[in-house]
Symmetry: C2
Subunit: 375 residues, 2 copies
Amino acid sequence: MTLDDLPTPALVLDRPRMLRNIERMRTRLRRFGVRFRPHLKTCKSYEVARLMLDGPAGPATVSTLKEAEYFAAHGVTDLLYAVGIVPAKLDAVAAPRARGCDVIVLLDSVAMAEALAAYARERGDAMPALIEIDTDGHRSGLVPDDPALLDVAEALSRGARLRGVMTHAGASYACRSAESLAAMAEQERAGAVHAAQRLRAAGHEAPVVSVGSTPTALSARALDGVTEVRAGVFVFFDLVMAGVGVCTADDLALSVLATVIGQRRDTGWLITDAGWMAMSRDRGTASQPVDQGYGLVLDVDGAPLPGWWMHDANQEHGVLARRDGAPADLARFPIGTRLRILPNHACATAAQHAVYHVVDGGRDVAAVWPRIGGW
Amino acid sequence: MTLDDLPTPALVLDRPRMLRNIERMRTRLRRFGVRFRPHLKTCKSYEVARLMLDGPAGPATVSTLKEAEYFAAHGVTDLLYAVGIVPAKLDAVAAPRARGCDVIVLLDSVAMAEALAAYARERGDAMPALIEIDTDGHRSGLVPDDPALLDVAEALSRGARLRGVMTHAGASYACRSAESLAAMAEQERAGAVHAAQRLRAAGHEAPVVSVGSTPTALSARALDGVTEVRAGVFVFFDLVMAGVGVCTADDLALSVLATVIGQRRDTGWLITDAGWMAMSRDRGTASQPVDQGYGLVLDVDGAPLPGWWMHDANQEHGVLARRDGAPADLARFPIGTRLRILPNHACATAAQHAVYHVVDGGRDVAAVWPRIGGW
């Protein structure tokens, strides 16, 4: 099977680029002497995950209990479920734990800490939890100086086990310079370490200080006090990350294979069969200095077609156009021509597909790797 | 099973609202004496589709060959594949045709008409095609007066069979008044009928004049010369359609069940476990006069919570906030509280889920209906 005969639209994974991205992250974190706990929410595939992990057992991070179940079934037994836990989900955490998988949960309130401690006492399993710390105001967590931090730790101690703190500086996606990225990484580090120190000063064990996002992981100048780093999207990278400045378009390992299904001589458009269902509705570059539309256009071999972008999308139609004002050389792209589109957001685009078609630079499909979805 | 114990996030389908939406469309089209060929790209579920169809065999419209295969396997044998065909996809059209399923294809170029005719001659199957007409400039098709229209028909006649014309006034989504919607419906009708008349005047049979989009189907004042109407999103409706003015938020049959996983007293936010993975990245209301964020908030019973919206989303986190300036009554929504979110775009949100959880107004889950995805 090659990219010339694959039914389209289809998700293509350039393995050499992915391996290069993984090596870059691992080399960088090795230098700081911190553990790497890659976030598997981007790939949702064991075949990809095993290339990122320290060893078969992990550690790793997941965003759903479905991912936890799937990766645990593949032998990854050191898992952080990095979305706030609720009482109704505790059975789904306890089940893999009873089979020897160390699923760690996350919370940021006294109410949930009390509920976890009560549940853990009843199960006779001192379930481990991290307290979520908010270091950038973008989502969940307690600010590092929140007095409630010690109350949460106290509540946990009555049956569960405080493992430490976790923060995610998602606001780093809005950074636009190496300086601001480094500053955000330092803010993330300092906030998490400060929270852990408060816990320790109050007599709690808090061995883990977990930080991370792809931009901060690639921009931190110091990680003193941090014990582990998480990152996910780096494995494929995407146009949003290129816009943030932590990679270039040439690092992108994921693309969507599309077929030209129509031409518009009046508007200079090429119509393809990769619409938003294949790309996702993600328009993350719209708020960046360079809006990339729904993506940038490559030929079937992966060479950029400068000046072309995917400027609009319907459910199963992509509209490609030149954005540089040059005339659209439509004759070069007859109906049936295959092209590839680099996505805005790898997590969102990959989620629209059931499998990765792995290529080693050329058109031959070397492997087909399944991925999971849902909850 | 009830909405109180379903794992979240989960897709909820309010059956009475759906049936009301279907009845409204069918009653309206019956008045015009046109055939209804519902678009199944929104529901992608036979359990939903059978409630929309004239009979077990259809007619129906699909957006992918995977949908064609799935619905054909359920006995729907009159199918229009309403995305431009390419040579590489003809085998996947011929296969169900050989099993007695009348799959009709769409095209808009002489090159593709020649390829189809040659393929059809070789198979000994005069495969039927509609010529796509562009009546609003938003995507594919030939404008009604394009001289190439007759060349395409001529090319088809050498082995394939011209069935007629099809147009889709997707630009109707940008209309904001009953008058502009009616005008767009008339533009869609007149353009398609004109193209069919040109074909007939040149001696071609063109029995089918197929038009449609949910807004125009609900706004047309006359459908003279039209033989069939297509529409899809009407079955569930969504906030984009409410913004266009063809339904109200109370008509929306689809919502996403979410659980409160965190509270932020400082910002007045509720954090839920329904992020963009559960809602899709669709922000279709962002370009409408009233931006609904990622959706509007209901309680678990489906009653609106006025003033609350989903104002931001991460992959597995939703951020709910008040947008009316009133203080956020967080104490009303402790961790574990279940809420429902009305989506911007039903096609995109449903595509993020594997099943519908059907309710008849209350919290009891009366049925679980699978849906398909992919290509």
